[in-house]
């Protein structure tokens, strides 16, 4: 492994200053970064360890009814927080469908947002990758790409963002709080990740030194608690990234959908909010035909980036199913196999 400088700052301000230097990277749990370093994919000169910073590990309800989640809260602690799981069940379900129990115990909220793509060509340093080395080319575009993007991709990059957690978050209009050299600011999660365009190496709007300190769910987010699900199709029952996933959340009043939220995972370089589909659902009674129409709208702009045309049809079906499950109501208890098509299997073994 390349030798690197290890810094453990005492304050957020110190962290920002230390990480603003070229070649620096933040280290939280390291569940992704350390693998990348061992594989020579990331070769930072300096690691700024933020895990000892105070005040970043709280889950708190703010005066306006929004929920603020510190960036260092672990995926497991958040998912297993009873109040959180009750108010934002699709988020908890998404968290529990990701990685393994061991990884969820370590991985943090902030790190989850900034995890890197799982494109094999990004990880394979013998391959060309515009993300890893800007301008070198994309070996995925003519390569083994059946799991790659079908939305928002470019000729320069067809990678997807692998997070489960981000998918319901983006559906619920989550905000991201950032500390940077210019002080505190906040942006919508939907604006955090960039589509590849001509600069796939720039994956987010963060500037050098920017540190995500919290994720906030706005007051309106828990109004969907009664009808919110996350559904994830994957190639084994656990410990696999989504082939395609979807978060669906409905606010149902008097038998009609007052408001719908829908986002897709595993289809683009960012969690994919499907606003056009949400529009179709507003003000109508939940029914199979409107869900079909919503699914059609959600994938209108989709096109295969390789051997992955099936993902478009699969995504439509997942949208329909996720909406159907959400309309049926959030289950009283978290399924033993969260987000799995086999979630309702009786006698299921925990993932």
């Amino acid at each position: 492994m390349k030798p690197f400088e290890y810094i453990r700052p005492a304050t957020v301000a110190e962290a920002v200053a230390a990480a603003a230097q070229p070649g620096a990277a933040y280290l939280a749990a390291g569940t992704n970064l350390l693998d990348l370093m061992k594989g020579g994919v990331s070769r930072p000169d300096r690691l700024v360890d933020v895990t000892h910073l105070d005040g970043l590990d709280a889950i708190e309800t703010l005066a306006d009814g929004s929920l603020r989640i510190g960036a260092l809260v672990s995926n497991a602690d958040l998912a297993h927080d009873p109040a959180f799981a009750k108010s934002y069940p699709a988020v908890a379900e998404a968290l529990l469908s990701g990685a393994s129990a061991q990884l969820r115990n370590a991985a943090t909220v902030g790190g989850n947002l900034l995890q890197r793509t799982r494109c094999a060509y990004f990880y394979d340093t013998a391959s060309r990758c515009n993300k890893r080395e800007a301008g070198s080319g994309c070996d995925a575009s003519e390569g083994e790409n059946r799991t790659h993007a079908v939305l928002g991709w470019s000729e320069n990059c067809i990678a997807t963002h692998p997070s489960d957690f981000c998918v319901p978050l983006v559906a619920l209009d989550a905000m991201v709080e950032i500390e940077g050299r210019g002080g505190h600011r906040e942006i919508a999660l939907d604006e955090l990740h960039r589509l590849p365009g001509d600069t796939p190496a720039r994956e987010s709007v963060l500037e050098p030194g920017d540190l995500i300190v919290a994720v906030r769910l706005p007051p309106a987010a828990h109004a969907f608690a009664a009808h919110a699900r996350y559904l994830k199709v994957r190639e084994r029952t656990s410990y696999a990234f989504a082939v395609v996933s979807a978060a669906a959340a409905l606010r149902i009043e008097n038998g009609k959908i007052a408001e719908a939220r829908l986002a897709l995972g595993g289809v683009a370089a960012k969690p994919w909010r499907a606003r056009a589909a949400e529009d179709v659902l507003r003000g109508v009674a939940p029914a199979a035909d409107v869900f079909q129409e919503a699914a059609r709208r959600a994938l209108t702009d989709a096109k295969p980036s390789g051997d992955n045309a099936f993902k478009i049809e699969l995504a439509r079906r997942i949208v329909v199913r996720a909406l159907t499950l959400a309309a049926a109501g959030t289950p009283a208890r978290m399924p033993a196999l969260p987000a799995s098509p086999f979630a309702s299997t009786t006698g299921a073994i925990h993932a």
Partner: protein, 753 residues
């Protein structure tokens, strides 16, 4: 050799003999407390770390390595390259015997496959060696690689597997097909699969003058020793290999490969002990793998569903520089009673490491295709898949006409089907749903694996205190040799297992043969049995020839060894203890050797195989295509079961691997570069716990007087066969979609709504 302190306390109170008892692993406590010393756990004083740099291309040559940059890195001691390395005594390209495979030991700059070792960096720390390897920044002359089953010109190899004929036929297949009432002609594909034993290949090598001490996992201590001796030009007695525990072998640690040789070379180069352990991704190349296949099955049946012909052709691949051909079609030799059978193979050469043995090589790949085709034909005949198999049950081995030494397959079918509830299966596919609306499918497959025997030797002794010793260089790969072989040893010398010191796992012990072919318990067990009989005979001679003994005059045939005593067969009240016999004779111990070997006469007479029947239930989401196996039942007949607990674990493991074969495992190879794109445990999918359903294993009683003295057939590999096909057939039964390319993928099951 560290003190092993194996525990013998059984989980249950035992009655009777040691063989047949479900003892827990005697090395279990060591393993769960981290005290079992695997090769890479050794740290001799002064040890350095070696890390291999591997090729990023699959065909071409290395034109430069930045050795200076690597050497400048703090902690790097030396960089071993084709230009800077100890000379080997013989060229590793020379195949000195059929069990020698070509390896990469930095003999040239040529690159023959991706992940081939091209240099070794030796450093004070693992981190420094790892970074040194990265700093080598190799530059290549890249040549177009051959990739996949259609690469280049195909050819017919001289043999497949280990010396099997490439083509075998009995009867007239074309005539059988021509006369058939119904025919199917189906082509199946299986992917390349790579070894992912928990313990990666590793070695700790220490030279002391011309003596060599080695810690490394090996399934063949003596084969490894002989290969090291010839490569380094040293006498056998100058080499000591310790391999007390393997973290899985599965065929990848059977024959000496390049990486451990590089470790020994590195230790020689720097004159200090060296540890070299492969990284996970580095196992996808130099240590063997299961080759991909494309198999065409042509079957014909008469009007009553009896096979008239079975034609099984397999295309596979080997490397560009050596020969191993997955004998996939040979799976059709033994199971179904077609009057005409032909099995044949051809191959192409590709730029990969040489494919080699991987748990049930040939049997696993061939079985999934054969069992799928049988299922397809049963459906074509409108017959239940079990009824179809019973209709075509082979009373004699179809390819040879020989009788079976034993074959309790009918009982396997019967007991497995009953336990599973097979009789309630709908004939039509896509008929069954569970409460949640998921499609439910039931499938089955027949399991088979040959009952093999190799050569082994053991040494037994009875000591003055009445205790026993059994020595054999056997290998525990996790299957339970420390336990099962010790049970055989205890019975062989007529002692409780706690009174027998069982020694195994080092190269200074008698040759136990290779731990492969599901034959280790049978082979090593036969040697132990015979050594035990021989030492008891010597002890009996001491007693029966001594007029002071109560056994005087009883003669060899008239004495029984039991619980540390010899007693007269005709009067069990007359006897004496081993200790008394040795004390009176004034000898410290008696010892004897015994051998285990195949019986050529029996092999000439009989076909010898283990059998089984596997039943699987899968659930499939009707719209989303995701598959989950919900239960499996396997019934196996494999002769004498030495330790039911270990055997159950072996069969569980095989069944899980079969599930993996059908649904998960595939090395994804870039068709342009020949590089494997998922060489890690995150993306090379094997089943996780949540994929593994409740498994039910039935071991069907079977007595085989012909396979060997103990009647053992072996269970190491049979579990995969049958299981892979059972899962695939269940997916068809659930969905009505016949997928012929494995693993079965979600997109294949996205049927129109």
């Amino acid at each position: 050799m560290p003190e092993l302190n194996l525990t013998s306390a059984p989980a249950h109170i035992r009655h009777g003999s040691n063989i047949g008892q479900p003892l827990t692993r005697r090395d279990g406590v060591l393993k769960v407390t981290g005290q079992a010393t695997y090769a890479a756990d050794n740290h001799p004083p002064g040890m350095l770390y070696a890390v291999t740099a591997v090729a990023g291309i699959s065909h071409g040559r290395v034109i430069s390595l930045d050795v200076a940059a690597a050497k400048r890195h703090p902690g790097v001691v030396d960089v071993m390259t084709p230009e800077h390395k100890p000379q080997l005594a013989i060229d590793p390209e020379i195949k000195t015997n059929p069990f020698v495979f070509r390896m990469e030991a930095l003999q040239s700059n040529e690159v023959r496959y991706a992940n081939q070792p091209i240099a070794v960096v030796i450093a004070e720390t693992l981190e420094a060696a790892t970074e040194g390897a990265a700093l080598l920044a190799p530059r290549y002359e890249t040549l177009p690689p051959l990739v996949g089953l259609d690469a280049g010109e195909s050819f017919v190899p001289p043999v497949v597997g280990v010396g099997n004929p490439t083509e075998i036929h009995r009867g007239d297949v074309e005539a059988g097909l021509a006369s058939a009432e119904k025919r199917i002609d189906a082509t199946y594909e299986t992917p390349p699969q790579y070894h992912n034993a928990m313990e990666p290949h590793g070695i700790v090598a220490s030279w002391d003058g011309d003596s060599l001490s080695v810690d490394m996992p090996t399934q063949g201590l003596k084969l490894s020793l002989a290969r090291i001796a010839e490569l380094f030009g040293i006498a056998h007695d100058k080499i000591h290999i310790r391999s007390p525990f393997l973290g899985g072998g599965f065929g990848s640690k059977g024959l000496m490969g390049g990486p451990p040789v590089l470790g020994i070379m590195a230790a020689k180069l720097v004159g200090r002990p060296v540890k070299l352990v492969l990284r996970r991704e580095q196992m996808y190349g130099p240590v063997g793998h299961r080759a991909p296949t494309r198999q065409r099955l042509r079957l014909g049946v008469d009007g009553e569903g009896r096979l008239t012909a079975l034609d099984h052709h397999a295309r596979t691949v080997s490397s560009t520089f050596d020969d191993f051909y997955e004998p996939a079609a040979d799976a059709s030799h033994t199971l179904y009673a077609a009057p005409a059978i032909r099995t044949s193979h051809d191959a192409v050469r590709v730029h990969t490491g040489t494919p080699l043995f991987m748990r049930a090589p040939g049997e696993a790949t061939g079985s999934i295709a054969l069992e799928s085709a049988i299922d397809e034909m049963a459906w074509a005949c409108g017959m239940d898949p079990l009824a179809f198999r019973l209709k075509n049950y082979a009373e004699v081995e179809p390819i040879s006409g020989k009788p079976f030494s034993s074959k309790a397959l009918l009982a396997c079918y019967e007991q497995g089907a009953a336990r599973f509830g097979w009789a309630k299966r709908s004939l039509q596919p896509r008929q069954m749903r569970d409460d949640a609306g998921l499609l439910v499918g039931w499938g089955m497959g027949t399991a088979t694996f040959p009952a093999l025997m190799f050569q082994a030797e053991a040494r037994a002794a009875i000591r003055r205190d009445g205790s026993g010793v059994m020595e054999i260089g056997a290998h525990d790969m996790g299957q339970g040799a420390w336990t099962a072989l010790a049970q055989i040893a205890a019975d062989a010398v007529g002692l409780d297992i706690a009174r027998v010191e069982f020694k195994a796992g080092t190269s200074d012990l008698p040759d136990a043969g290779i731990a492969g072919g599901s034959a280790h318990t049978a082979t090593a067990g036969a040697a132990i049995h015979s050594a035990g009989a021989a030492v008891i005979a010597k002890l009996a001679d001491l007693a029966t020839g001594d007029e002071r003994s109560p056994l005087f005059g009883a003669g060899n045939a008239g004495v029984i060894a039991r619980d540390g005593r010899l007693v007269r067969r005709d009067d069990e009240s007359r006897g004496e203890s081993y200790a008394e016999i040795l004390a009176r004779a004034g000898v410290a111990e008696v010892e004897a050797r015994g051998t285990g070997a195949p019986n050529p006469a029996a092999m000439e007479e009989y076909a010898m195989h283990a059998h089984g029947a596997v039943f699987a239930e899968v659930k499939v989401d009707p719209e989303l295509g995701q598959v989950r196996v919900s239960r499996m039942v396997g019934a196996f007949a494999a002769g004498r079961i030495v330790n039911p607990r270990m055997v159950q674990s072996q069969l569980f493991g095989g069944m899980i691997w079969g599930l993996s074969f059908a649904l998960h495992e595939e090395a994804i190879t870039d068709r342009r570069t020949g590089r494997i794109m998922n060489a890690n445990l995150g993306e090379y999918h094997v089943p996780v716990n949540a994929d593994v359903p409740p498994l039910d294993v039935i071991t069907v009683e079977e007595h085989d007087p012909h396979v060997n003295a103990l009647g053992i057939k072996g269970v190491g590999e049979i579990g995969i066969t049958g299981s892979a096909g059972a899962v695939a057939n269940a997916v068809w039964h659930a969905t009505g979609v016949r997928v012929r390319k494995f693993p079965i993928r979600i997109e294949e099951l996205l049927t129109p709504r």
